[in-house]
Point group: C2
Chain length 499, copies 2
């Protein structure tokens, strides 16, 4: 099942990038050291205090919305409406983590009272466990969500909520916005009376790699390309003290359309697919990149004749050149056809639909089943619904997999079973873009969707990435952390029972 | 804080071992393939069925206790009473995981109903999340717990409970016991009607490494030495598809005795310390290896004059030679003194107490603050309680750290804060050996205690190592997994509220 890793040029990530400005080594080191000094006071701050800090950051960003959105629009080519919505999502996310800190269930408090008759064969001591912050976290920001996966995005919000100081290696695609966002976050931290060093930014790949190697950094997160993410994962894993590296890398997000759905809802499917894959000019990690459709349906014809959004400039020249390169490889492949009229290589690029036989996709998956970061998709025609299962069984890990089907489709049960092994999120008659920030969200998946199949980078469960359990044995009440005392009101497991 | 890794010869682990018998490559591959084929049916088995299987395994092992204990006693030099107790712990553990599977909270069910007014700025879709098994798990068995951390030990129990097939690379220290235990487990699986391939064993380092590289293996666990564990961690991390590697490696388990405690409770401290460090002839991962005591106390003198258990043979010749080597390095160190009369290098070895100044321990931590797997400890004398903090701040990650103190000791608060950063379990006026299997237990810690600071290898939370979340978006009730339907009775989080 494992095959040669596709080195997709999905986002410009950080591999080999020459940032125009870089934080000098000494200064970057001072920032990491300051984060290390802030770890104890930030971890020790009570939950009310930390909640207030997160809300203050959200407030400061909201009140700077006009300025920040204007800078973002200039630097990223993303429209004002999109950026305003993304900033709203970002401050909502900070407030949702504040709510989570208030609730306290993320501490996973467990209390086992001493039990002389514990059936293990030896008396059970008094044991109490809670989650503590891991320590300073290094966040590698992404290009394609200049707010939500950047300086004050989900990684920063969840790490701060966990009680970890954060050093963000900013993305070179939006340097001014990164600096302006960081200014607002720092002002909020000062206003809320936070310890110095809890948050700062560094610039440049060299500074990022040096920070990743710094013994003071205890975890790192990343959103970007497979090549860049894997390189950083390897550095994190090969340190004298390896640290958790939470990389969200590449995903094709295949969509499996059954014959019945194609017959009954062709118009709706075409409209939904086009809206999803052209959103943000196709620069979403959850863009549906491969659509599997029955050959005897009219879906390909409908897609050929459909009306598409106007061409839109990509985030930056590196994304554009990476996109063009992948597109060139796909269009020059003998099994792939292009049926449109417009020049797919135009800059800005228009939405492009390539076609292929599903059998060819299976046979040449390394070349064809790959992420193309931008507004191009591959539509694969199958003769038999069995081919849907073949594709589901052959693919690598994905962030999402979507089934567009109808009640009664015989392929549903085996297809769901196969896809649950491969994807972090399954969708039914819906589209994968627009990742909601919620309690039940999971934005992750087996490699190479992420470097760690057990974690999510979106939703409240993302906080678990930055926590570690510590057990306290035989401590008297007066010496225990407050969360572990008998009078705690936190959600907890007491002698195996949920309270 | 990070320093050169101590390559302690703690247990014989698996690095460089030449197992007398080894599973041939073809056969080992067939076992891995069978585990892969078993993954889907084992994962699909309902919770009642899996509970029955775990209980049946426990019953079969219990009913074979006489035979298994006799083989174990012959192969490991561990006494019958100890082995009988360990087997009881092992079958208790299987039944505790059965109870956990019945309870179902490990599935971490989360249900978010669709919400058109979700304050993120976009409607929230219906999202539901649960935990699914990771897939086939490779377990590297340990030598020092031939039942509890071996063929049917905690790793196997928690992986099977999670719904993962298990391949155990047996430890060469007890080959017959491993084979006999595996026979019983397999018989139980057949009796309970489990799918073929859910459990099997392989023998030999080569077979273990080949299995670790097999793409079908989705996670691995290990209990053993730092050197061996790190080598396997590196292999797991460098695979084309990296997999989680849960290694429990080395730990010194320092004990910090305050001046007041030394003054008030010298006799009790000496008795407790001796009992703890000589338990199992010092071959426990939680053996208290370093005891910090005030220089002006009589603890060293009492330890010198105390009565000790008789010399006991170590597990096997490799453990004995590793122990002798570490002991020779420690005793030849110019800062270390040995005050006893008996020959510390005798075989079998008697309990040995070495002494050092705490200041020397700090200055030469790489040489002196290291695990010595066997019945030797280092007692470090301090002049000022501040030295306790210095030691706590300098050390690497530990499984445990113990404070022996009195109410009113001024060092307690900073010492607890420092040690919570370094150890997975803190103890107060207790001893770290005898790890209880409970809901709140945490047997883990920062590197090199383990390769993953966020997980435990003992206690019910150990099941989380072998699970990954999957979210389902927009699915109708009839198509959802039963655990995620509106009528589920499992413990769950619904729209952010615990039910």
């Amino acid at each position: 099942m494992t095959k040669a890793t596709n080195v997709a040029t999905r986002r410009d990530g950080d591999s080999g990038s020459d940032d125009p400005v870089t934080t000098p080594g000494g200064e970057a080191d001072a920032i990491v050291q300051a984060a290390a000094r802030a770890a104890a006071p930030w971890a020790a701050l009570n939950r009310t205090g930390r909640t207030q800090v997160l809300r203050t950051i959200a407030d400061h960003l909201d009140s700077a919305a006009d300025e920040l959105v204007a800078i973002g629009a200039r630097e990223t080519h993303l429209g004002e409406a999109r950026l305003r919505g993304e900033l709203r999502r970002t401050t909502f996310q900070l407030r949702l983590f504040a709510e989570l800190v208030t609730d306290g269930s993320y501490l996973d408090v467990r209390i086992d009272h001493a039990d002389p008759d514990w059936p293990m064969g030896a008396p059970r001591p008094d044991l109490r466990r809670l989650m503590l912050p891991l320590g300073p976290v290094l966040v590698f920001a992404a290009s394609n969500f200049p707010f939500a996966f950047s300086v004050a995005g989900g990684d920063t919000a969840s790490a701060l909520a966990a009680g970890c100081p954060v050093v963000v290696k900013v993305h070179p695609g939006h340097p001014e916005l990164s600096a302006a966002t960081a200014e607002r976050v720092k002002a909020a931290l000062v206003a809320a009376g936070s310890p110095e060093g809890v948050f700062d930014i560094i610039t440049g790949l060299d500074a990022g790699v040096a920070a990743l190697r710094a013994p003071e950094i205890k975890a790192a997160s990343f959103t970007g390309s497979i090549a860049g993410g894997r390189a950083l994962f390897d550095i994190a894993s090969q340190r004298p003290e390896p640290i958790p590296f939470y990389g969200e890398l590449g995903s094709v997000n295949p969509v499996f359309v059954t014959r019945a759905a194609a017959t009954n809802r062709a118009e709706e499917i075409v409209a939904g697919f086009i809206a999803s894959f052209t959103l943000g000019a196709g620069q979403f990690c959850t863009k549906p990149g491969v659509l599997l459709v029955p050959r005897d349906s009219d879906l390909v014809e409908r897609l050929t004749q459909a009306t598409y959004p106007a061409p839109a400039p990509l985030l930056n020249p590196r994304i554009q050149s990476g996109y063009t390169e992948t597109l060139r490889q796909l269009t020059s492949h003998p099994s792939v056809s292009y049926a449109g009229n417009a020049d797919p290589f135009a800059d800005p690029p228009g939405p492009t639909v390539l076609t292929v036989r599903a059998a060819d996709l299976v046979e040449q998956q390394d070349d064809l089943f790959r992420e193309c970061f931008g507004p191009t998709v591959l539509v694969a025609s199958y003769d038999s619904e069995d081919e849907l299962l073949t594709v589901a069984e052959m693919i690598d890990g994905q962030l999402t997999a979507t089934i567009v089907g109808e009640e009664g489709d015989r392929v549903l049960a085996p297809l769901m079973q196969a896809l649950a092994l491969k994807a972090g999120r399954l969708l039914w008659n819906a589209w994968p873009t627009g990742v909601s920030v919620t309690y039940a969200q999971h934005h992750g998946g087996p490699y190479p969707a992420t470097t760690s199949p057990t974690i999510t980078s979106v939703g409240t469960a993302a906080i678990a990435r930055f926590l570690r359990p510590v057990a306290y044995q035989n401590f008297p009440q007066w010496l225990l952390p407050a969360a572990l005392r008998d009078d705690t009101t936190l959600p907890r497991l007491v002698d195996g029972r949920r309270l």
